[in-house]
């Protein structure tokens, strides 16, 4: 294929024939140039996903891997049956939903506030912008352990402040307590402590992504309209509500879909913070625990396939709303 690329353009005889042969050459070159990427993606992503689909209909334990043949073996619905009848799976599905919805929401709200604050010019703006991106670029392993130490009941800073300054009776095991109560106006309200903490962590870790994209969009909001509104007596909040926010809705919707998908997929954060314990098991950590702790490849693949099905729907939503723009670009 590379040899074809070396052939210099033949002198054009007639214009139409030249155009047709040019289109053919372009097409060949395009396929040739994109093929390394497509091959890698096929071998390392598409085929494995298809194989995972097959595995989810088989009864395979990790110890049998050496004897396993690629497509053979009996097909069974046992894995899916097992999932739908297990309370653990439904619990994980519920947690995943809560984690994704509130993690995404938190990240967007924080990111929007941060972007509006950093919008105008001030001294040190570039530095502030860089600092606000740190939670997003830092290695997840490091920040998860920082939070774990920060929240630790024995030596964590948060509990030290809580017991010494805020007058808590005893330290709160934030990441290992499934249910706690907080007093609101004298009434005790039950909260899923650990799940709440992993959601807060997710919002903290991901708000820079929302911040970055909203800030980029803010840069393109025309100042003229706002100036005109100001002349007409619009206050800053009114001008935000009626002029700026409507222009941000597109990018916020895009961030919402992307963040929801990535939070839905997230494994590292919860695995590192709680190991999926204390009521924080999500689908991704359940896939891992079926695979590693219980050596059940089939059940693990079935959970993953459920995730893939949900993702496929989300992907269609994404393409429906943002595909148009992608194509016109």
């Amino acid at each position: 294929v590379a040899a074809q690329l070396e052939i210099p353009a033949p002198p054009p005889t007639s214009r139409r024939r030249a155009r047709a042969s040019r289109a053919r050459r372009d097409s060949r070159a395009g396929v040739a140039l994109v093929s390394p990427t497509v091959i890698v993606v096929m071998v390392m992503v598409v085929l494995p996903v298809l194989w995972a689909l097959i595995l989810s209909f088989q009864r395979i334990r990790l110890l049998q891997i050496r004897r396993l043949d690629l497509l053979g073996g009996e097909y069974t619905l046992r894995n899916y049956d097992l999932l739908l009848n297990s309370s653990g799976f439904l619990e994980a599905a519920k947690n995943t939903l809560l984690y994704s919805v509130f993690g995404t929401l938190g990240a967007i709200v924080l990111g929007l506030f941060a972007a509006l604050l950093v919008r105008g010019s001030f001294r040190g703006r570039g530095l502030v912008r860089g600092v606000l991106l740190l939670p997003w670029v830092a290695p997840v392993v490091a920040i998860a352990f920082i939070w774990q130490v920060l929240l630790s009941p024995q030596l964590g800073f948060v509990n030290a402040v809580g017991t010494d300054v805020l007058g808590w009776d005893q330290p709160i095991p934030f990441l290992s307590q499934e249910r706690g109560t907080i007093a609101l106006f004298g009434i005790g309200v039950g909260v899923p402590t650990a799940l709440l903490m992993v959601i807060v962590f997710e919002a903290w870790k991901s708000f820079p992504f929302a911040f970055l994209f909203i800030l980029a969009r803010l840069q393109a909001v025309s100042a003229e309209l706002e100036e005109a509104a100001k002349v007409d007596g619009a206050t800053p909040t009114q001008s935000f509500r009626y002029i700026v926010l409507p222009q941000l809705m597109g990018v916020i919707a895009l961030i919402a879909v992307l963040r929801f998908i990535w939070t839905f997929n997230a494994f590292d954060e919860i695995f590192l913070l709680t190991g999926g314990g204390a009521g924080t098991e999500v689908l991704a950590t359940q896939v891992y625990s079926f695979l590693q702790a219980r050596n059940d490849v089939g059940a693990s693949a079935a959970v993953a396939m459920f995730m893939a099905a949900v993702l496929a729907v989300l992907l269609l939503v994404y393409l429906r709303f943002f595909g148009e723009r992608e194509r016109t670009q």
């Binding site: 372009d26 992503v45 606000l132 393109a220 896939v287």
Partner: protein, 290 residues
């Protein structure tokens, strides 16, 4: 005028609240990193004694935790020098392979009309958005069966597959902002397609390629799931991310864990501050169009 009073009130309130808000966000974003650095330099006994202390006197600073983390296992350390080398090798390998493939792919997607272009687009987008944990199962099973699971180069291929689609997307955005006229001029002079890419397109795209390369390096350096699944039984092949995650047994004090985290984080933050503008512009290009 009521409206005008509200206007002045809001403007005055914002003048006070805005700096406070910025300070709040800077504190929230920065404090955990500050806490990590402080803890990594304290004695564990003092941390347990006074966990609320977040300032450290010059006399209290100790490098014990760092020595323990960096020393080879034969001398009672955790052997992180080795992990740093592994992470650097995996990162550089991933960057190299990904860049070569994605430059060609991005050029094709941005400049040429070819059969199956739409499908290729959809394929890349799916990879970008699909759960890595889903890939973990078949890849884990396949590489276990082939007996290749502990090899570093296998990990490189996994990372290449995960980063390629984003890179094609980032570079395509850049190529599209470069005028085609230069390439057409070269074509008239009789240059071949590969010559045009090498001599005309690439030199213009150097900043974008550097930014994309750094982005890939960061992803490879930070990655945890596949390193854990593939390498955990081969200690001499551990990456820094994996090494830190294995510091959490009971005997390892929190100060050592934080020292490991500092070693893991610092290279990434340095790289990021070095190329922040380039990278963030590559990612958000297109977002401005709303």
């Amino acid at each position: 005028m009521r409206g005008s009073r509200r206007y002045h009130f809001e403007v005055a309130a914002l003048r006070v609240l805005r700096p406070l808000g910025i300070a709040f966000f800077v504190l929230v974003a920065l404090f955990p990193f500050y806490y990590m650095v402080i803890l990594s330099m304290r004695e564990i006994s003092q941390v347990i004694e006074s966990p609320g202390q977040i300032f450290i006197g010059l006399g209290e600073i100790t490098s014990d935790a760092y020595e323990r983390v960096l020393k080879p296992t034969s001398e009672g350390g955790e052997g992180f020098v080795r992990f740093l080398i592994n992470s650097a090798l995996v990162g550089l390998g991933t960057v190299l392979v990904t860049l070569v493939a994605s430059i060609l792919g991005a050029y094709a997607v941005s400049r040429l009309e070819f059969f199956g272009k739409r499908t290729v687009h959809f394929l890349f987008l799916s990879v970008y958005l699909f759960p890595p944990i889903l890939l973990a199962i078949p890849l884990f099973v396949a590489f276990s069966k082939l007996g290749l699971r502990g090899e570093l180069w296998v990990l490189v291929f996994v990372y290449v597959a995960q980063t390629l689609p984003v890179c094609v997307y980032m570079l395509r955005n850049y190529f599209e902002s470069v005028p085609v006229s230069l390439e057409e001029a070269a074509e008239v002079d009789g240059a071949t397609r590969l010559q045009i890419i090498r001599k005309v397109t690439l030199p213009l795209a150097v900043p974008a390629i550097a930014a994309t390369g750094l982005y890939v390096f960061m992803i490879a350096w930070n990655e945890f799931l596949f390193a854990l699944l593939f390498l955990v039984e081969e200690r001499q092949n551990w990456t820094v991310s994996l090494g830190v995650s294995q510091l959490t047994n009971i005997e390892t004090p929190a100060t050592t864990l934080m020292a490991g985290s500092v070693i893991l984080t610092v290279p990434i933050i340095v790289l990021f501050l070095f190329a922040e503008r380039l990278m963030t512009e590559g990612l958000t290009r297109g977002a401005e169009k709303g």
